[in-house]
């Protein structure tokens, strides 16, 4: 049975192109993807994760308000009794940040992995496969352009 991952853009962010590409790549790699689209609330992420019994929640944020939008997200997941893998990625701070400190900040907020905007879908997929201990499918399936 394929692993389900929840994908969406949080807050009032409307940058849709990144998750569109991610959705396509994740599906091609064999994941069941529930794409919440842009401007999704924390509740929507939590409910979808619960409803789909998801293995991972992938939060995207580009517009610079990720910190505010993700505040309390892991508490909410806890309350819902969900122990799910969480990734966050995109342009996570406003301005020309030093990514290391941004990563630190989001790690402290509870995210298992933090990705910058240079991340290729392949990297996210490789990490998911490792973290979810999936038997790596055929190498072709991992590649998006296969």
């Amino acid at each position: 049975m394929p692993e389900t991952v929840i994908l969406g853009v949080i807050g009032s962010d409307a940058h849709v192109v990144g998750i569109t590409i991610l959705e396509q790549a994740l599906s091609a790699a064999g994941f069941e993807v529930e794409n919440l689209g842009v401007q999704s609330s924390q509740e929507e992420f939590v409910e979808a994760a619960k409803a789909e019994d998801a293995g991972a929640v992938l939060v995207s944020s580009l517009y610079g308000h990720a910190r505010q939008d993700c505040e309390g997200f892991h508490e909410r997941l806890d309350e819902a009794g969900l122990d799910v893998l969480t990734y966050v990625g995109g342009n996570l701070a406003v301005g020309q940040d030093d990514f290391e400190s941004t990563r630190e900040r989001f790690r402290e907020m509870g995210f298992d992995r933090v990705f910058d905007a240079e991340t290729d879908p392949e990297e996210a997929i490789a990490s998911l496969q490792r973290d979810l201990q999936l038997t790596t499918t055929e190498p072709e399936a991992v590649r998006v352009d296969s």
Binding site: R103, V114, E118, R143
Partner: protein, 487 residues
């Protein structure tokens, strides 16, 4: 039923009165006193006057930080060190959502911290007087740039605050910017905004309006962008707007970009009533930028070169730090100066590009087809037409996050790098035009020895940030990528 008719004066009044209570600063707005303030401004701060009388493309950056003093400092820097001709004030995302409470928190947090906790200037929270401080502090005219579906209160406050240009529109600030707003709702809200601009205009204070041409910024076929510009232009004109700047975002193919800008100007003049002064604005590449300032300067350079050939009235510049986040003021000024150098070196050159006329004719023919479909879908009424056409997919925007658009259209580049349509969905185009797109993309597929597919679209989306125009298959896996936690 919402139609394309002018909002009655008492309606304008009534709505304004209601909005006044949405946030404390609404009550500061006084139309008569605002007119007086505008009249006190020198001609050099009259947006429409400066723009419409220019004899070379004017340059304008994007820029907005939360606090007033920093915004003044930022704009002064861009004016003095960047030689910006026109200034912007980019509004933060909470204000765009009408979440003035959250914006207030972000503003307070920003005041108490060296970091900016908002991605723009919360003009409603600042209120009329602070906007005027800003306008007074700078020499060049300033525009409100935002992305707000319901920008009514923002318009009331900022226009009273002395801004004379207001970006956006009911489609261009809905489809690319939101998920759940209906077009009927945003059109209604923008009828108010346009009517308000019209009211100022009738009192001799011309407010420039600028529909947002780039839409999703990502491989938008020129005809689609131009159709949206014409519709928003028509809607604005109905409400009394008399200074309209139609926009277009660079796709990166020189011939197609020049052709599109010429088509935009010519169709704008054809479709819009005579009493409207039409100008054009060219946005430097609005899609994903290279994660490298040197390469980004190359993208900006191509933007400048294109502007020098196409000669739009205005150019919105990008900064070499576009990829990473809101740029520093130095990087922002840098983008202005790189663009300026290219324009100034090339503008006097007689550059006559082959193939422009054909491409322009194709764009115009396609736009006419889409416009016809809109008029038909509304039985002659543009408002109903555009709502119905988006609903049916006869009009559509690629990568639209909004539920109001089908988002079924998929673009891809042809072998020359021009943006064509790969998946039409229900787009109202005649077969002969579809045929042209299909055959150009077929050529490319043959060149690359692969099928047309979403993969090709995805490759094109990444191409410029990867340093190319066309997303050709590379063969190598390129897992290098970004700084992540992929241990």
């Amino acid at each position: 039923m919402l139609t394309d008719t002018r909002l009655a004066s008492d309606e304008l009044q009534r709505i304004a009165n209601e909005l006044r209570d949405n946030w404390r600063t609404g009550r500061e707005v006084d139309f008569e006193e605002a007119i007086a303030f505008h009249e006190s401004l020198p001609r050099s701060k009259e947006f429409a006057t400066v723009l419409e009388s220019a004899d070379a493309p004017l340059l304008q950056p994007r820029a907005g930080v939360p606090c007033l003093e920093e915004q003044i400092e930022l704009l002064r820097y861009l004016q003095d060190e960047g030689d910006a001709d026109l200034l912007p004030t980019t509004i933060d995302s909470y204000t765009r959502d009408n979440e003035y409470e959250k914006a207030e928190e972000g503003l307070a947090a920003s005041r108490n911290s060296p970091d900016n906790e908002l991605n723009g200037f919360p003009a409603v929270n600042h209120g009329v007087e602070d906007c005027r401080r800003l306008v007074r502090a700078l020499d060049a005219p300033i525009e409100v740039r935002h992305g707000t579906p319901d920008a009514r209160l923002l318009a009331m406050v900022t226009l009273a605050g002395g801004f004379q240009s207001f970006e956006g529109g009911p489609i261009s600030y809905n489809i690319p910017y939101t998920k759940e707003h209906s077009l009927a709702e945003t059109i209604e809200h923008w009828q108010f905004v346009d009517r308000l601009c019209g009211a100022y205009t009738e009192r001799g204070v011309t407010i420039n309006r600028e529909p947002f041409g780039p839409l999703t910024g990502t491989l938008v076929p020129p005809s689609i962008a131009i159709t949206v510009m014409l519709i928003e232009g028509l809607l604005a004109a109905t409400q009394g707007v008399r200074s309209l700047t139609l926009g277009y975002g660079q796709v990166g193919n020189l011939v197609q970009d020049v052709a599109a800008l010429r088509a935009l100007r010519s169709l704008g003049e054809d479709y819009l009533p005579e009493e409207v002064t039409v100008t054009t604005v060219f946005h430097e590449w609005m899609g994903g930028f290279p994660p490298d300032e040197a390469r980004a300067s190359g993208v900006i350079g191509l933007g400048g070169a294109t502007a020098a050939v196409a000669k739009p009235d205005k150019v919105i510049t990008k900064s070499p730090q576009e990829f990473q986040g809101v740029p520093t003021k130095e990087a922002n000024a840098s983008g202005l100066r790189t663009t300026r150098q290219l324009i100034d070196m090339m503008i006097e050159q007689d550059i006559d590009l082959g193939g422009i006329d054909d491409e322009q004719a194709l764009i115009e023919r396609t736009t006419h087809a889409l416009m016809d479909a809109v008029f038909e879908a509304g039985d002659g009424d543009v408002v109903q037409g555009v709502i119905n056409a988006f609903d049916s997919g006869e009009l559509d925007v690629p990568f639209a996050p909004s539920d109001a658009a089908k988002g079924a259209v998929l673009p891809a580049r042809d072998d020359d790098g021009r943006v064509r349509i790969f998946e039409f969905g229900d787009l109202a185009l005649p077969d002969d035009i579809k045929q042209i797109h299909a055959s150009r993309l077929g050529e490319r597929a043959r060149t690359e020895g692969r099928e047309e597919s979403f993969r090709m679209v995805a490759d094109d989306v990444d191409a410029i940030s990867d340093g190319k125009l066309i997303g050709r298959p590379t063969g190598d896996s390129d897992l290098a990528g970004g700084v992540g936690d992929a241990d």
